[in-house]
């Protein structure tokens, strides 16, 4: 490498980086380094980029494609490995990195192990029991957001919450969401909101606890027992939004609902005003239809009824009745006159009989009746010679007249 003399002791960045790179490569032979793999990324180039870390430190590492093909199994997130590598410098960014060409599994990474132990412990305590999960309210009145007031999650949360359900009041309790202090602050915030809620000072229906996305180390605060305890003891339902699709944090496991991102959390927390308004609109139309169909139904019924014969030809009924009256009166007449008629006939018969017996009919045939006139206008029927004496006045009754006469003589026949 040709080294131009830097004027007045200055180096360009490139020169510096090249120098450091050279020194690193000269001073460090190929060596084995043990640590936990995190932030593994496998871009299309076929190289693998990852971070190797222990309890306190981390270093960037890369394994190029030809080596990776033989060690893909060993290179996995969270795995404790030994890698054979040469330390070097990525000159473009001045970044210290390990160039790995071999990897051997070293059992489970220590942090991962601690996490697994914590999970087992909390599981045994019943922290993850689905049966104890609280229901997320459908129409929250106040939602508390427990996240950094300056982080990326808060923007998304406020945006989506405000758009979906402006009826819900929002209260923010800001806290750190990464670093050593984060677990204590997150759990204290959960406790504080629960306290004011339980004292009846500020009703809160729902907590959203979380942060925007980040690397696995960034999410570490949500794998903490303090945070798990706070969520577990919260009387207010909790939605977690830790922003990492692949890894379930302990906070996610304890929370009543796990959202992958803050946006998803906001959606899970609230109904959608727009769709509710659409529903209301539909219901209004539906109600109007229901009423008009009711009216139409009744109108149809009325029409059917009014088409019935009794309404259509109302006089027919009267005619039928009249006919019946006629019928009855006829029957009545015949029934009541029958005895009368037979009586009449009898009378006629008797009269005829009577007439045949009457002397008047005899007179009509030319006979006559002689009556002797007595004083005081009395009369006596003359039937034998001794009944009259000459000089008596008699009345001779003919059929249609009578003769007044004086007896002259009485002669025997």
């Amino acid at each position: 490498m040709s080294m131009a003399e830097p004027p007045e002791g200055h180096l360009t960045v490139t020169q510096l980086n090249e120098l450091v790179k050279l020194r690193l490569e000269e001073d460090f032979p190929r060596l084995w380094v043990g640590g936990e793999i995190t932030n593994l990324s496998l871009p299309g180039s076929g190289h693998a980029y990852f971070t190797l870390k222990d309890e306190s430190c981390s270093v960037r590492a890369v394994m190029f494609k030809p080596y990776l093909m033989r060690h893909r199994k060993q290179l996995q997130e969270g795995k404790q490995v030994l890698i054979r590598c040469k330390p070097g410098l990525y000159t473009n960014r001045g970044e210290f990195q390990l160039l790995a060409d071999e990897a051997r599994l070293q059992g489970v990474g220590e942090q991962q192990l601690l996490l697994m132990q914590l999970k087992e412990k909390l599981k045994a305590k019943g922290y993850f029991e689905p049966s104890r999960k609280k229901q997320i309210p459908k129409f929250p009145k106040r939602i508390a957001l427990i996240t950094s007031a300056t982080g990326s999650a808060i923007r998304d949360l406020l945006e989506v919450l405000g758009k979906r359900w402006p009826l819900a009041a929002i209260v923010i309790r800001s806290c750190r969401v990464q670093g050593e202090l984060a677990p204590g602050e997150i759990s204290a915030a959960i406790h504080l909101v629960n306290k004011v809620h339980n004292l009846g000072k500020l009703d809160v229906d729902l907590l959203i606890v979380g942060r925007g996305g980040g690397s696995q180390e960034d999410l570490w605060a949500f794998n903490n027992e303090l945070v798990a305890d706070a969520i577990y003891h919260s009387t207010i339902p909790v939605i977690s939004a830790v922003g990492h699709e692949d890894d379930l944090t302990i906070a996610d496991l304890v929370a009543d609902f796990r959202a992958v991102t803050p946006t998803e959390a906001a959606c899970a927390a609230t109904p959608d005003a727009a769709s509710i308004l659409a529903f209301l609109q539909e219901t209004e139309t539906y109600l109007a239809k229901a009423v008009s169909s009711k009216v139409t139904g009744l109108r149809e019924h009325l029409k059917l009824l009014s088409n019935r014969k009794c309404f259509k030809t109302p006089t027919e009924w009267i005619h039928l009745k009249l006919q019946r009256i006629d019928d009855l009166s006829l029957r009545f007449k015949s029934a009541s006159l029958a005895p009368l008629n037979s009586l009449k006939e009898k009378i006629i018969f008797l009269r005829e009989k009577l007439e045949s017996l009457s002397p008047l009919s005899t007179l009509k045939r030319g006979y006559s009746i002689t009556l002797k006139l007595l004083p005081e206008k009395q009369t006596k029927l003359v039937t034998k010679p001794e009944d009259v004496s000459p000089g008596d006045f008699v009345k001779i009754l003919l059929g249609e007249a009578s003769i007044l006469a004086q007896v002259k003589d009485i002669q025997d026949q």
Partner: protein
Amino acid sequence: MATRKKNESSFESSLKELEEVVQSLESSQVNLEEHLKLYEKGVTLIHLCQSTLKDAEKRIELLTGVDESGNPRLEKFGHESTVKKEEKGLFSMED
């Protein structure tokens, strides 16, 4: 009618009541007079819900702490939402 639970918002109970109205209307046992009464009630509830939603003002506060007796200390939290700008289109059906 709707028995309002302690934690139920008035919006929620209005919505429930509306559901009951619809159910009653769907049962054919209702006579015309009741039917019209229910319809009127339903429409009133719908308009109430709509205006509640449309008139809602967003309230965002920062909880900075509590005093000795547990009263929360709240501050207004400034959040310039894009919602305000879109307000007119917010409740459109395309959403």
